[in-house]
């Protein structure tokens, strides 16, 4: 395909969902069928076109230069420092196409599933309009050509999540959760705005009128050693700060510690929303941006170390919390958090390819798990895994797909999760503590997923309903995703095991994220740490350890919750205070609540008091009161009695004469 066609297709993929959302909102709210058709159709179209673009890109081979098409959105013509132009457009290269394929394909499955899940909901059209808008926002991030555009859609993703999490707007917890998501993301965006400005003007300062928002321009500067050195010398410590501030935006969207608190609450939205948010959109945005702007992060070493540790802490913290959750969606939510931490950790250790790969595989099996959970909730009318049990017999399709997702997530050979987890662990090989955190998280992941499966799907049914299999419109998407979860990982396997040999996913990713198109391969081995992580073959020690801990995790969970050889109650008692700490989510929510309710609101109230009593009370009203008082005093002089006036006239006259005489004496 020529560049024009590619750009046109990208525009269609990007704008189809928003057109659908607008049409639904304006015209077809009443007719549910058309609304659903428009919404689902736009995303499925996007998915198909993305796949076409993907194959086109594969045919062109690794390192194809990006196709960029953009138009001026707003500009300031400044002759003094050069024009500042804000653009909107599409940048089509391997990474954006891969992301858009994930959004399109996983999204399509979720949209179809939603047709079944949302049946009978009174806000049907509203739901599908918002849902399509969500996909649009995410695609806008995917195809962004510059920082301003990515920030614009970044905010739009934030607002879509606000609207969808708070979909049941009469439910206080739902609207509060939506608000929380939006606000937490806003704090992340605070950092991101500053980071973008810092970077833009630093580039301006050194290179003159260069578009310091544009990804391509920045990439050119950062990948060229001479210009990079020039820039870093000029920026000094601010380079690391700038990269970190931009990462703060990713911390908000990808829910990294300590901005992770919104994600578990986001379960208040309808399940398809959770699936979309946790798999293909929103949380993926942060990781995607790190990969997208890797030329920046890769050279900002201090920021990278911080990123790696934040990722590691998030992964471990969330995995421990997931172990003690009873709500099936909450388990999955914390699992998402933990896996995001994994990806970010990998990115922070110069393994952006591994991070992106895990993002792709995770999107498939996490969407699968969420929708499986939704199917279970739909059948049992409860979220509590202790009120389920024995569902394997009643819901065959849901069960086998859910188990496939579980095994993929746990990283069992040869399912999708195995390959990407392996890449992450090999990437983190060189920072020992983080490597062991990674291994520990792998164990915990297998354990909590095993706990969930054994409790919900096996044993005896403990609820009081009549669970039954969901309709085909719900389980067929599950089956499709399950196939991806089982076989999808092979495309990214190391070269000697990969069905495509040397031309697997990693070869494309490596080229895409290391440099601009030309001469990319040499750069790979020259990462700042000297760590080129593309594996030609499996790191046997990493793979074996990873698999062993995963199997161990599943086995231990079987002993606790399957065969019940061990008692979970005793374990709880054994861990005592640690259990309390973990089950209260490390009291982070309480800490934030304190900050918001006490500190912030207290400060606001203080300002209000100052306003009311000092500025208005003393200054403004005081001034007015003073004027009135003075008027009042002077009024009393007008007594209306002649003798008063005569006395005053005489007094005044005497005073004047006196002053005149005395004055003459003194000053001549």
């Amino acid at each position: 395909m020529d560049d024009n066609t590619v750009a046109t297709l990208a525009y269609v993929i990007l704008f189809a969902p928003v057109v659908a959302a607008i049409l639904i909102t304006l015209f077809t709210r009443k007719s549910k069928g058309i609304s659903a058709f428009l919404s689902v159709g736009s995303v499925v179209t996007g998915g198909i076109l993305s796949v076409i673009l993907l194959f086109d890109q594969l045919a062109k081979g690794p390192g194809t230069p990006p196709v960029i098409s953009q138009f001026e959105w707003a500009a300031a013509r400044d002759s003094a420092i050069g024009d500042i132009v804000l653009n909107i457009g599409v940048q089509v290269d391997f990474i954006s196409i891969l992301m858009s394929t994930i959004v399109g394909v996983v999204g399509s499955c979720i949209f179809v599933y939603a047709l079944g899940y949302m049946k009978g909901d009174e806000g049907w059209s509203r739901f599908f309009a918002k849902f399509a808008f969500f996909a649009f926002s995410m695609l806008g991030i995917t195809y962004a050509t510059n920082f301003v555009q990515i920030f614009i859609f970044w905010e739009l993703v934030g607002v879509s999540s606000y609207l969808l999490i708070g979909y049941f707007y009469q439910k206080p917890s739902a609207t509060d959760a939506g608000k929380k998501a939006f606000m937490t993301n806003r704090i992340g965006d605070f950092g991101m705005t500053l980071g973008i400005l810092l970077l833009f003007f630093a580039v301006r300062d050194v290179f003159g009128a260069v578009d310091g928002f544009s990804f391509v321009e920045l990439q050119r500067i950062f990948t060229d050693e001479a210009s990079r050195t020039l820039l870093f010398d000029a920026m000094g410590w601010k380079a690391g700060l700038g990269a970190f501030l931009i990462f703060v935006g990713a911390m908000g969207k990808s829910a990294q510690f300590p901005l992770h608190v919104w994600l578990p609450d986001a379960m208040e939205g309808p399940t398809p929303v959770s699936a979309l948010m946790h798999a293909a959109t929103m949380v993926a945005a942060g990781v995607y941006m790190i990969v997208r702007c890797y030329w920046l992060f890769a050279w900002a070493e201090s920021a990278m170390i911080a990123i790696a540790w934040i990722g590691g802490i998030t992964a471990l913290m969330a995995a421990t919390i997931a172990v003690v959750q009873n709500d099936i969606k909450k388990i999955l939510a914390y699992s998402t958090l933990s896996q995001l931490g994994y990806m970010v950790m990998a990115c922070g250790m110069w393994g952006a390819g591994a991070g992106m790969f895990h993002l792709a595989t995770h999107a498939f099996f996490k969407a699968l798990l969420f929708m499986g959970a939704g199917s279970v909730i739909h059948a049992c009318h409860t979220n509590d895994i202790w009120e389920m049990g024995g569902l394997a017999k009643k819901m065959k399709h849901t069960t086998w797909t859910f188990i496939a997702g579980t095994l993929a997530l746990a990283g069992i050979f040869p399912l999708a999760g195995f390959w990407s987890k392996d890449e992450i662990l090999s990437a983190s090989h060189h920072i020992a503590p983080l490597y062991w955190i990674g291994v520990g998280v792998a164990f915990l992941t297998a354990f909590y997923m095993g706990r969930c499966v054994f409790t919900a799907f096996f044993g005896k049914y403990r609820g009081d309903g009549h669970p039954h299999e969901s309709p085909a419109v719900m389980w067929v998407p599950l089956a499709i995703l399950a196939i991806f979860a089982i076989f999808g990982g092979w495309v990214g396997a190391p070269a000697d095991l990969n069905p495509f040999g040397e031309h697997g996913l990693q070869s494309y990713l490596l080229v895409a994220y290391t440099t601009v198109a030309e001469g990319a391969h040499q750069q790979v081995i020259n990462w700042p740490t000297g760590q080129g992580h593309m594996a030609k073959s499996l790191h046997m020690n990493v793979a074996v350890i990873g698999t062993l801990v995963a199997v161990a995790g599943l086995f231990v969970s079987y002993l606790f919750y399957g065969s019940r050889k061990f008692s979970a109650e005793k374990a709880k008692k054994m861990f005592g205070p640690i259990y309390t700490l973990v089950s209260n989510k490390y009291y982070i929510d309480e800490f934030y609540l304190f900050l918001v309710k006490k500190v912030q609101q207290g400060f606001a109230n203080l300002c209000s008091i100052v306003e009311q009593h000092i500025i208005i009370g003393i200054f403004v009203n005081g001034l007015a009161g003073g004027a009135r008082e003075a008027g009042d005093k002077f009024r009393k002089m007008q007594t209306g009695r002649v003798n008063t006036y005569v006395t005053m006239i005489l007094g005044g006259l005497t005073l004047l004469v006196f002053l005149f005489v005395v004055g003459k004496e003194f000053w001549g």
């Binding site: 001026e72 206080p172 003007f201 300062d205 007015a624």
Partner: protein
């Protein structure tokens, strides 16, 4: 006689006001539709101006000059540049929405509309006027009807509020008037001393071929300032010396700053908004506040650029009080109109910050934000008015879950809150983002304080999201407060919806494609930035 569009846009509401006097008070429908018709004409005119404004040429267009009082140098001197075009469009959209929303007014509608149209005549006069006398006259014309509108049709402590508002604004106007008169005399002295330049001015502007040395003509003052400043160093020159500018600019700044409203002169505004009837608070917050920042840009920056260059950095510090302090106070409010009122003073802080950064993108952002904020806040007060008429309370704890009962208003309110919180897709985002870039650019240029200001201003966006979402959450989401069950009517006909849809459409149109408006605004701000840039270089190094 040929009437230019700038003349028309002032004449139409003036004529409407006049016609309204002759309609019998009983014919309420006639009164309403006449006012709406007048407003509609202004919308058509302003859109035509926007569409036909020649961006390639720039400068003043649609001009018309008719001498009024020759001895004093007062003339009917109107026109529009890029900034004016944007402001006229804003005003016409807000008055259109305001007249439609006011169809609900049943108490003395004739008088209400007469005052409303008189007020807006004044506003148009300021935005299209190029004569300082006329500028001041129109400004007062806009302020006085507000006194009556609040005093008669208002609510919530209206006597106090309207008194305070009028006193503040009139006091501000008087301070500004002193500044204007000083400029007038100074210009006269300048031209008396340099008759050759007066001749040159006459030749350069065929419209003003009979100009004398005494003139309220803004262009003539600007011409004098420009040439005076070319005649020597800031301290040594005879006219428009730095000393003079440092003495007059603060008068202009404080005078117009009172209505902008600059901290700590802001206290009249939230109370005034809260007390005013819907249409009045729409105009008030939407348009009247912009007169202040417009005056600072139009007169302060162009005629007294060296004074501005020295003093604006201090103003930037006050903006932080507007943004952060105003935002925090908004967060503590329970009355919804006070939330929006303090939020307005917080957002106007961004406008002033954009002006204070004194560069292209900052000033463009500031003017664009004046437009965006005007539309947004008019929308807010219109919506609040809609349910306040029925609930008779705006206290957030008493409301709750209204979205169930009035879904259309709920959706619009959410849109307003998101727009105000600076969400992309609405004009507010693009403009605030430009202001932030401008502020950072000023910091990079050398005034390191602006780093701090930018950081605080970005944090201000977080604060604004906090109180706006909180307000939306309390008023519209969650379970419906049972006492409103079935009591409140939604805007269920297209007629009632029209004003809100129109305002939202404007926000979205210019938010999705800001270039439409920014390119027009830029033709107006460009010359101003050039003037101020020269002045900054002249005064650089002088303490």
């Amino acid at each position: 006689m040929h009437l230019s569009l700038a003349t028309l846009i002032i004449l139409v509401p003036a004529l409407t006001t006049l016609l309204l006097f002759f309609v019998p008070a009983k014919k309420v429908q006639v009164v309403r539709w006449l006012a709406a018709g007048g407003a509609f004409c202004t919308v058509i005119i302003s859109i035509t101006m926007m569409a036909t404004y020649d961006k390639a040429v720039g400068g003043w267009q649609f001009t018309q000059v008719v001498t009024w009082v020759e001895d004093l140098g007062i003339s009917w001197n109107v026109g529009a540049d890029g900034i004016s075009v944007a402001m006229l469009l804003l005003t016409s959209l807000v008055i259109m929405a305001g007249t439609l929303v006011s169809f609900k007014v049943t108490d003395r509608p004739k008088e209400f509309y007469i005052l409303l149209m008189a007020l807006v005549t004044g506003v148009f006069g300021v935005f299209a006027g190029r004569d300082m006398f006329f500028f001041y006259f129109s400004y007062e014309l806009a302020v006085i009807p507000m006194y009556l509108l609040i005093g008669v049709w208002g609510s919530t402590n209206k006597e106090y509020a309207t008194m305070k508002l009028t006193l503040f604004l009139t006091a501000g106007a008087v301070v500004a008037l002193i500044g204007l008169l000083l400029l007038y005399w100074h210009t006269k002295e300048f031209f008396d001393a340099n008759p050759a330049l007066l001749e040159a001015f006459r030749n350069a502007h065929p419209d003003f071929s009979d100009a004398t040395s005494s003139s309220f003509n803004l262009l003539q003052v600007q011409y004098a300032a420009k040439h005076a400043m070319e005649m020597g160093g800031p301290a040594s020159r005879e006219f428009f010396s730095l000393g003079f500018q440092l003495w007059v600019f603060p008068l202009i700044l404080l005078g117009f700053g009172a209505i902008a409203p600059m901290w700590p002169l802001h206290t009249w505004s939230p109370g005034g908004h809260a007390a005013a009837p819907s249409a009045a608070s729409m105009l008030h917050a939407g348009v009247l506040m912009k007169l202040g920042s417009y005056g600072i840009i139009r007169i302060g920056l162009t005629c007294l650029p060296e004074g501005a260059a020295k003093i604006l950095p201090i103003v930037a510090a006050l903006c932080m009080m507007n943004i952060i302090y105003g935002g925090m106070v908004a967060m503590a409010q329970k009355d919804l109109k006070f939330v929006i009122g303090y939020s307005s003073s917080s957002h106007m802080g961004y406008v002033l910050l954009g002006i204070a950064s004194m560069n292209v993108i900052g000033l463009n952002g500031a003017v664009f934000l004046m437009f965006a904020h005007g539309i947004m806040t008019a929308l807010a007060f219109g919506l609040i008015g809609w349910f306040y008429d029925q609930t008779h309370t705006r206290m957030l704890p008493d409301l709750g879950g209204l979205a169930k009962q009035i879904p259309f208003i709920g959706v619009c309110f959410t849109i307003m809150a998101l727009a105000s919180a600076g969400l992309p897709g609405f004009a507010n985002f693009a403009s605030e983002f430009m202001v932030l870039i401008g502020s950072w650019q000023e910091a990079v240029r050398g005034n390191s304080w602006f780093f701090l200001y930018t950081i605080l201003a970005v944090w201000g966006i977080v604060i604004s999201a906090t109180y706006l979402l909180r307000a939306a959450r309390w008023a519209f989401f969650g379970p419906l407060n049972p006492c409103w069950e079935g009591k409140i009517k939604d805007a269920d006909t297209w007629f009632w919806r029209a004003p809100f849809i129109m305002l939202i459409a404007a926000l979205v149109l210019f938010g999705c494609y800001p270039k439409l408006l920014i390119d027009v605004i830029a033709t107006g701000t460009g010359p101003i930035v050039d003037i101020i840039e020269n002045a900054r270089q002249a005064v650089a190094g002088i303490k």
